[in-house]
Amino acid sequence: MNCKDALPLIHEYLDGDLPSAHAVKLQQHLRECTDCASRFRLYEKTEALVRVMDRPETPSNLTASIMSSLPPVSRKRVWTRWVRQHPAIVAAAAFIIVMMSSLLSLWNSGTQLVVRGDDLEGNIIIEGQRVIVPSDSSIDGDLIVENGTVQVDGHVRGNVTVIDGNVAMASTAHVSGNIKQVDQALDWIWFKMNEWFRAALN
Protein backbone atom coordinates (compact mmCIF):
# COMPACT_ATOMS: atom_id res chain seq x y z
CA MET A 1 0.00 0.00 0.00
CA ASN A 2 1.27 3.45 -0.89
CA CYS A 3 0.43 6.77 0.83
CA LYS A 4 -2.01 7.83 -1.89
CA ASP A 5 -4.12 4.73 -1.21
CA ALA A 6 -3.78 5.06 2.53
CA LEU A 7 -5.31 8.53 2.89
CA PRO A 8 -8.91 7.66 1.88
CA LEU A 9 -8.67 4.58 4.11
CA ILE A 10 -7.63 6.77 7.04
CA HIS A 11 -10.77 8.88 6.50
CA GLU A 12 -12.93 5.76 6.18
CA TYR A 13 -11.44 4.41 9.39
CA LEU A 14 -12.17 7.66 11.22
CA ASP A 15 -15.74 7.55 9.87
CA GLY A 16 -16.00 4.08 11.40
CA ASP A 17 -16.73 2.61 8.01
CA LEU A 18 -13.53 0.71 7.18
CA PRO A 19 -13.99 -3.07 6.79
CA SER A 20 -11.66 -5.00 9.09
CA ALA A 21 -9.68 -6.56 6.24
CA HIS A 22 -8.74 -3.09 5.01
CA ALA A 23 -8.09 -1.92 8.55
CA VAL A 24 -5.43 -4.59 8.98
CA LYS A 25 -3.69 -3.45 5.79
CA LEU A 26 -3.90 0.20 6.84
CA GLN A 27 -2.44 -0.61 10.23
CA GLN A 28 0.46 -2.32 8.53
CA HIS A 29 1.09 0.75 6.35
CA LEU A 30 0.93 3.12 9.32
CA ARG A 31 3.56 1.05 11.10
CA GLU A 32 5.89 1.41 8.14
CA CYS A 33 5.16 5.04 7.08
CA THR A 34 5.84 7.75 9.66
CA ASP A 35 4.26 10.48 7.47
CA CYS A 36 0.95 8.69 7.23
CA ALA A 37 1.10 7.68 10.90
CA SER A 38 1.60 11.30 11.89
CA ARG A 39 -1.21 12.45 9.57
CA PHE A 40 -3.48 9.85 11.16
CA ARG A 41 -2.65 11.09 14.68
CA LEU A 42 -3.27 14.71 13.64
CA TYR A 43 -6.73 13.81 12.32
CA GLU A 44 -7.52 11.94 15.51
CA LYS A 45 -6.41 14.90 17.60
CA THR A 46 -8.39 17.33 15.45
CA GLU A 47 -11.54 15.26 15.93
CA ALA A 48 -10.99 14.99 19.67
CA LEU A 49 -10.44 18.75 20.03
CA VAL A 50 -13.52 19.63 18.02
CA ARG A 51 -15.69 17.16 19.93
CA VAL A 52 -14.87 18.59 23.34
CA MET A 53 -15.85 22.14 22.45
CA ASP A 54 -18.09 23.41 25.20
CA ARG A 55 -21.76 23.99 24.56
CA PRO A 56 -23.01 27.55 24.82
CA GLU A 57 -25.54 28.16 27.54
CA THR A 58 -29.01 28.75 26.12
CA PRO A 59 -30.57 32.08 27.17
CA SER A 60 -32.91 31.42 30.09
CA ASN A 61 -36.01 33.11 28.65
CA LEU A 62 -35.73 31.51 25.23
CA THR A 63 -38.85 29.34 25.37
CA ALA A 64 -41.02 32.26 26.48
CA SER A 65 -39.67 34.56 23.80
CA ILE A 66 -40.14 31.90 21.11
CA MET A 67 -43.73 31.25 22.21
CA SER A 68 -44.58 34.95 22.30
CA SER A 69 -43.17 35.49 18.81
CA LEU A 70 -45.58 32.96 17.30
CA PRO A 71 -48.55 34.39 15.42
CA PRO A 72 -51.88 34.04 17.25
CA VAL A 73 -54.18 31.27 16.10
CA SER A 74 -56.36 32.84 13.43
CA ARG A 75 -60.18 32.81 13.63
CA LYS A 76 -60.39 31.01 10.33
CA ARG A 77 -58.14 28.21 11.54
CA VAL A 78 -60.22 27.78 14.69
CA TRP A 79 -63.39 27.61 12.64
CA THR A 80 -62.07 25.15 10.05
CA ARG A 81 -60.58 23.00 12.79
CA TRP A 82 -63.96 22.94 14.61
CA VAL A 83 -65.63 21.91 11.36
CA ARG A 84 -63.10 19.12 10.89
CA GLN A 85 -63.57 17.87 14.43
CA HIS A 86 -67.40 17.83 14.37
CA PRO A 87 -68.40 16.18 11.09
CA ALA A 88 -71.78 14.92 12.41
CA ILE A 89 -72.95 18.35 13.53
CA VAL A 90 -71.79 19.90 10.28
CA ALA A 91 -73.63 17.25 8.24
CA ALA A 92 -76.81 17.75 10.29
CA ALA A 93 -76.59 21.52 9.87
CA ALA A 94 -76.08 21.17 6.13
CA PHE A 95 -79.08 18.86 5.93
CA ILE A 96 -81.30 21.31 7.81
CA ILE A 97 -80.15 24.21 5.62
CA VAL A 98 -80.91 22.28 2.43
CA MET A 99 -84.33 21.19 3.72
CA MET A 100 -85.26 24.68 4.90
CA SER A 101 -84.26 26.26 1.65
CA SER A 102 -86.21 23.73 -0.41
CA LEU A 103 -89.27 24.31 1.78
CA LEU A 104 -88.83 28.07 1.45
CA SER A 105 -88.59 27.80 -2.30
CA LEU A 106 -91.83 25.79 -2.27
CA TRP A 107 -93.45 28.47 -0.15
CA ASN A 108 -92.26 31.28 -2.40
CA SER A 109 -93.18 29.65 -5.67
CA GLY A 110 -96.75 28.77 -4.68
CA THR A 111 -99.13 31.50 -5.90
CA GLN A 112 -101.56 29.08 -7.44
CA LEU A 113 -104.86 28.45 -5.66
CA VAL A 114 -104.90 25.06 -4.02
CA VAL A 115 -108.03 23.62 -2.42
CA ARG A 116 -108.02 20.42 -0.45
CA GLY A 117 -110.56 18.80 1.78
CA ASP A 118 -112.49 15.67 2.61
CA ASP A 119 -115.99 16.38 1.31
CA LEU A 120 -115.74 19.17 -1.23
CA GLU A 121 -117.72 17.68 -4.16
CA GLY A 122 -120.60 20.07 -4.88
CA ASN A 123 -120.13 21.88 -1.61
CA ILE A 124 -117.88 24.75 -2.71
CA ILE A 125 -117.82 27.39 -5.39
CA ILE A 126 -114.51 28.73 -6.74
CA GLU A 127 -114.39 32.25 -8.19
CA GLY A 128 -110.89 33.25 -9.19
CA GLN A 129 -108.84 33.21 -5.96
CA ARG A 130 -112.00 32.97 -3.85
CA VAL A 131 -113.40 29.81 -2.36
CA ILE A 132 -116.99 30.05 -1.20
CA VAL A 133 -118.83 27.63 1.01
CA PRO A 134 -122.46 28.53 0.22
CA SER A 135 -124.97 28.86 3.03
CA ASP A 136 -126.86 25.79 1.94
CA SER A 137 -123.88 23.44 1.88
CA SER A 138 -122.24 21.49 4.63
CA ILE A 139 -118.72 20.05 4.39
CA ASP A 140 -118.25 16.89 6.36
CA GLY A 141 -114.54 17.33 7.11
CA ASP A 142 -111.60 19.75 6.79
CA LEU A 143 -111.10 22.52 4.28
CA ILE A 144 -107.59 23.64 3.36
CA VAL A 145 -106.97 26.54 0.98
CA GLU A 146 -103.60 27.84 -0.19
CA ASN A 147 -103.12 31.23 -1.86
CA GLY A 148 -106.72 32.29 -1.72
CA THR A 149 -109.56 33.75 0.32
CA VAL A 150 -112.23 31.66 1.91
CA GLN A 151 -115.73 32.87 2.49
CA VAL A 152 -117.69 30.58 4.73
CA ASP A 153 -121.46 31.04 4.62
CA GLY A 154 -122.49 27.45 5.36
CA HIS A 155 -121.20 24.66 7.62
CA VAL A 156 -117.76 23.05 7.95
CA ARG A 157 -117.64 20.13 10.35
CA GLY A 158 -113.85 20.05 10.44
CA ASN A 159 -111.00 22.59 10.54
CA VAL A 160 -110.60 25.50 8.16
CA THR A 161 -106.99 26.32 7.31
CA VAL A 162 -105.94 29.14 5.01
CA ILE A 163 -102.34 29.49 3.90
CA ASP A 164 -101.34 32.89 2.52
CA GLY A 165 -104.85 34.18 2.48
CA ASN A 166 -107.69 35.02 4.80
CA VAL A 167 -111.04 33.82 6.00
CA ALA A 168 -114.32 35.68 5.91
CA MET A 169 -117.16 34.33 7.99
CA ALA A 170 -120.85 35.10 7.40
CA SER A 171 -123.30 35.20 10.33
CA THR A 172 -124.82 32.00 9.04
CA ALA A 173 -121.43 30.21 9.03
CA HIS A 174 -120.66 27.39 11.36
CA VAL A 175 -117.22 25.77 11.75
CA SER A 176 -116.96 22.87 14.19
CA GLY A 177 -113.16 22.69 14.23
CA ASN A 178 -110.43 25.34 14.38
CA ILE A 179 -109.96 28.20 11.99
CA LYS A 180 -106.31 28.78 11.21
CA GLN A 181 -104.53 31.28 9.00
CA VAL A 182 -100.95 30.58 8.07
CA ASP A 183 -98.96 33.29 6.35
CA GLN A 184 -95.56 33.24 7.95
CA ALA A 185 -92.87 31.08 6.39
CA LEU A 186 -92.01 29.43 9.68
CA ASP A 187 -95.65 28.75 10.55
CA TRP A 188 -96.05 27.32 7.14
CA ILE A 189 -93.00 25.06 7.54
CA TRP A 190 -94.30 23.91 10.88
CA PHE A 191 -97.65 23.19 9.36
CA LYS A 192 -96.04 21.31 6.44
CA MET A 193 -93.93 19.23 8.79
CA ASN A 194 -96.97 18.37 10.88
CA GLU A 195 -98.72 17.36 7.71
CA TRP A 196 -95.83 15.13 6.58
CA PHE A 197 -95.52 13.67 10.01
CA ARG A 198 -99.18 12.75 10.09
CA ALA A 199 -98.93 11.36 6.57
CA ALA A 200 -95.95 9.28 7.64
CA LEU A 201 -97.89 7.89 10.60
CA ASN A 202 -100.84 6.95 8.44
Binding site: H11, P56, M67, R77
Partner: protein, 194 residues
Protein backbone atom coordinates in the same frame (compact mmCIF):
# COMPACT_ATOMS: atom_id res chain seq x y z
CA UNK B 1 -37.22 5.03 19.44
CA UNK B 2 -39.29 6.02 22.47
CA UNK B 3 -38.12 9.60 22.02
CA UNK B 4 -39.14 9.44 18.39
CA UNK B 5 -42.73 8.40 19.15
CA UNK B 6 -43.13 11.11 21.81
CA UNK B 7 -42.03 13.77 19.34
CA UNK B 8 -44.28 12.45 16.62
CA UNK B 9 -47.19 12.56 19.06
CA UNK B 10 -46.34 16.11 20.13
CA UNK B 11 -46.01 17.15 16.49
CA UNK B 12 -49.44 15.68 15.76
CA UNK B 13 -50.95 17.59 18.70
CA UNK B 14 -49.19 20.77 17.64
CA UNK B 15 -50.54 20.24 14.13
CA UNK B 16 -54.07 20.15 15.60
CA UNK B 17 -53.39 23.56 17.17
CA UNK B 18 -52.27 22.47 20.65
CA UNK B 19 -49.97 25.29 21.79
CA UNK B 20 -48.88 23.44 24.92
CA UNK B 21 -47.65 20.54 22.77
CA UNK B 22 -45.78 23.02 20.60
CA UNK B 23 -44.18 24.48 23.72
CA UNK B 24 -43.01 20.98 24.67
CA UNK B 25 -41.33 20.69 21.27
CA UNK B 26 -39.64 24.05 21.88
CA UNK B 27 -38.39 22.80 25.25
CA UNK B 28 -37.07 19.60 23.67
CA UNK B 29 -35.22 21.28 20.80
CA UNK B 30 -34.33 24.86 21.70
CA UNK B 31 -30.91 23.96 23.17
CA UNK B 32 -29.91 21.84 20.19
CA UNK B 33 -31.03 24.39 17.60
CA UNK B 34 -29.41 27.22 19.56
CA UNK B 35 -26.16 25.24 19.66
CA UNK B 36 -26.48 24.55 15.94
CA UNK B 37 -26.98 28.24 15.14
CA UNK B 38 -24.18 29.21 17.48
CA UNK B 39 -21.65 26.90 15.83
CA UNK B 40 -22.83 27.69 12.32
CA UNK B 41 -22.75 31.47 12.77
CA UNK B 42 -20.31 31.92 15.64
CA UNK B 43 -22.22 34.37 17.83
CA UNK B 44 -25.06 34.45 20.34
CA UNK B 45 -27.24 37.03 18.66
CA UNK B 46 -27.50 35.13 15.41
CA UNK B 47 -27.86 31.84 17.28
CA UNK B 48 -30.93 33.30 18.97
CA UNK B 49 -32.25 34.58 15.64
CA UNK B 50 -31.84 31.09 14.18
CA UNK B 51 -33.80 29.45 17.02
CA UNK B 52 -36.60 32.01 16.69
CA UNK B 53 -36.79 31.69 12.92
CA UNK B 54 -36.61 27.90 13.05
CA UNK B 55 -39.53 27.55 15.46
CA UNK B 56 -41.55 30.15 13.58
CA UNK B 57 -40.97 28.17 10.39
CA UNK B 58 -41.88 24.91 12.17
CA UNK B 59 -45.05 26.52 13.54
CA UNK B 60 -46.11 27.83 10.15
CA UNK B 61 -45.44 24.66 8.20
CA UNK B 62 -46.41 22.02 10.77
CA UNK B 63 -49.48 21.27 8.64
CA UNK B 64 -47.09 19.98 6.01
CA UNK B 65 -44.94 17.92 8.40
CA UNK B 66 -44.79 14.33 7.19
CA UNK B 67 -44.52 11.97 10.20
CA UNK B 68 -42.67 9.37 8.11
CA UNK B 69 -39.64 11.66 8.60
CA UNK B 70 -38.17 11.87 12.09
CA UNK B 71 -39.15 15.15 13.71
CA UNK B 72 -35.52 15.79 14.65
CA UNK B 73 -34.46 15.40 11.00
CA UNK B 74 -37.13 17.88 9.96
CA UNK B 75 -36.32 20.56 12.52
CA UNK B 76 -32.55 20.17 11.99
CA UNK B 77 -33.14 20.56 8.25
CA UNK B 78 -34.98 23.83 8.81
CA UNK B 79 -32.37 25.14 11.28
CA UNK B 80 -29.44 24.13 9.07
CA UNK B 81 -30.95 25.67 5.95
CA UNK B 82 -31.63 28.95 7.74
CA UNK B 83 -28.03 29.00 9.00
CA UNK B 84 -26.62 28.25 5.55
CA UNK B 85 -28.72 31.06 4.06
CA UNK B 86 -27.24 33.49 6.56
CA UNK B 87 -23.72 32.31 5.86
CA UNK B 88 -24.25 32.79 2.13
CA UNK B 89 -25.69 36.28 2.59
CA UNK B 90 -22.80 37.20 4.85
CA UNK B 91 -20.37 35.96 2.22
CA UNK B 92 -22.06 37.91 -0.56
CA UNK B 93 -21.90 41.01 1.63
CA UNK B 94 -18.17 40.62 2.17
CA UNK B 95 -17.54 40.02 -1.51
CA UNK B 96 -19.38 43.17 -2.50
CA UNK B 97 -17.49 45.02 0.25
CA UNK B 98 -14.21 43.71 -1.16
CA UNK B 99 -15.21 44.78 -4.64
CA UNK B 100 -15.94 48.31 -3.41
CA UNK B 101 -12.63 48.71 -1.64
CA UNK B 102 -10.84 46.89 -4.43
CA UNK B 103 -9.17 44.69 -1.89
CA UNK B 104 -8.71 41.03 -2.65
CA UNK B 105 -8.89 39.24 0.70
CA UNK B 106 -6.71 36.37 -0.40
CA UNK B 107 -5.85 33.81 2.23
CA UNK B 108 -8.56 34.85 4.66
CA UNK B 109 -12.05 33.47 4.26
CA UNK B 110 -13.34 36.88 5.15
CA UNK B 111 -16.53 36.06 6.95
CA UNK B 112 -14.72 35.19 10.15
CA UNK B 113 -14.39 38.87 10.99
CA UNK B 114 -18.13 39.52 10.93
CA UNK B 115 -18.70 36.60 13.24
CA UNK B 116 -16.48 38.00 15.97
CA UNK B 117 -18.99 40.50 17.30
CA UNK B 118 -19.45 38.50 20.46
CA UNK B 119 -17.87 40.44 23.34
CA UNK B 120 -17.90 37.59 25.86
CA UNK B 121 -17.66 34.35 23.92
CA UNK B 122 -19.05 31.27 25.66
CA UNK B 123 -20.71 33.40 28.29
CA UNK B 124 -18.46 34.51 31.12
CA UNK B 125 -16.00 31.65 30.69
CA UNK B 126 -12.52 32.65 29.74
CA UNK B 127 -11.38 30.56 26.86
CA UNK B 128 -8.00 29.02 26.73
CA UNK B 129 -5.84 29.90 23.75
CA UNK B 130 -6.48 26.39 22.38
CA UNK B 131 -10.26 26.64 22.68
CA UNK B 132 -10.20 30.05 21.05
CA UNK B 133 -8.24 28.67 18.08
CA UNK B 134 -10.57 25.70 17.63
CA UNK B 135 -13.53 28.06 17.68
CA UNK B 136 -11.93 30.20 15.00
CA UNK B 137 -11.08 27.13 12.93
CA UNK B 138 -14.73 26.03 12.95
CA UNK B 139 -15.89 29.59 12.20
CA UNK B 140 -13.60 29.71 9.20
CA UNK B 141 -14.87 26.45 7.67
CA UNK B 142 -16.29 27.05 4.16
CA UNK B 143 -20.13 26.88 4.15
CA UNK B 144 -19.98 23.66 2.18
CA UNK B 145 -18.16 21.75 4.93
CA UNK B 146 -19.43 23.57 7.99
CA UNK B 147 -22.86 21.92 8.33
CA UNK B 148 -21.49 18.37 8.05
CA UNK B 149 -18.71 19.09 10.56
CA UNK B 150 -21.10 20.75 13.03
CA UNK B 151 -23.71 18.00 12.74
CA UNK B 152 -21.18 15.18 12.98
CA UNK B 153 -18.91 16.39 15.76
CA UNK B 154 -21.14 18.68 17.78
CA UNK B 155 -24.49 16.98 17.33
CA UNK B 156 -23.23 13.40 17.19
CA UNK B 157 -25.13 12.56 14.04
CA UNK B 158 -24.35 9.58 11.85
CA UNK B 159 -23.43 10.20 8.22
CA UNK B 160 -26.79 8.66 7.30
CA UNK B 161 -28.69 11.16 9.46
CA UNK B 162 -26.65 14.07 8.11
CA UNK B 163 -27.54 12.95 4.59
CA UNK B 164 -31.24 13.04 5.55
CA UNK B 165 -30.98 16.47 7.19
CA UNK B 166 -29.09 18.03 4.28
CA UNK B 167 -31.04 16.03 1.70
CA UNK B 168 -27.91 14.73 -0.02
CA UNK B 169 -26.42 11.28 -0.67
CA UNK B 170 -24.24 9.75 2.06
CA UNK B 171 -21.30 9.65 -0.39
CA UNK B 172 -21.47 13.45 -0.70
CA UNK B 173 -21.66 13.80 3.08
CA UNK B 174 -18.58 11.59 3.38
CA UNK B 175 -16.55 13.61 0.91
CA UNK B 176 -17.44 16.79 2.79
CA UNK B 177 -16.58 15.29 6.17
CA UNK B 178 -13.18 14.26 4.78
CA UNK B 179 -12.49 17.70 3.33
CA UNK B 180 -13.77 19.45 6.44
CA UNK B 181 -11.58 17.26 8.61
CA UNK B 182 -8.59 18.04 6.44
CA UNK B 183 -9.40 21.77 6.47
CA UNK B 184 -9.47 21.80 10.28
CA UNK B 185 -6.31 19.73 10.55
CA UNK B 186 -4.41 22.15 8.30
CA UNK B 187 -5.73 25.21 10.11
CA UNK B 188 -4.94 23.88 13.58
CA UNK B 189 -1.53 22.70 12.42
CA UNK B 190 -0.79 26.17 11.04
CA UNK B 191 -1.91 27.69 14.35
CA UNK B 192 0.42 25.25 16.11
CA UNK B 193 -2.42 23.75 18.13
CA UNK B 194 -1.69 20.25 16.91
Amino acid sequence: MEMHSIETRLARLAKAGDRAAFEDLVELYKDRIYHLGYRMLGNRQEAEDIVQETFLRVFRSIDRYDPSMKFSTWIYRIGTNLSIDRLRKRRAKIYSLDAEIGNDSEGSDGYGMLASDDPTPEGQAILSETQQRIREAIDSLPPKYKPVVVLKYLHDMSLQEIGEVLDMPVTTVKTRVHRGRDFLRKKLERDEIL
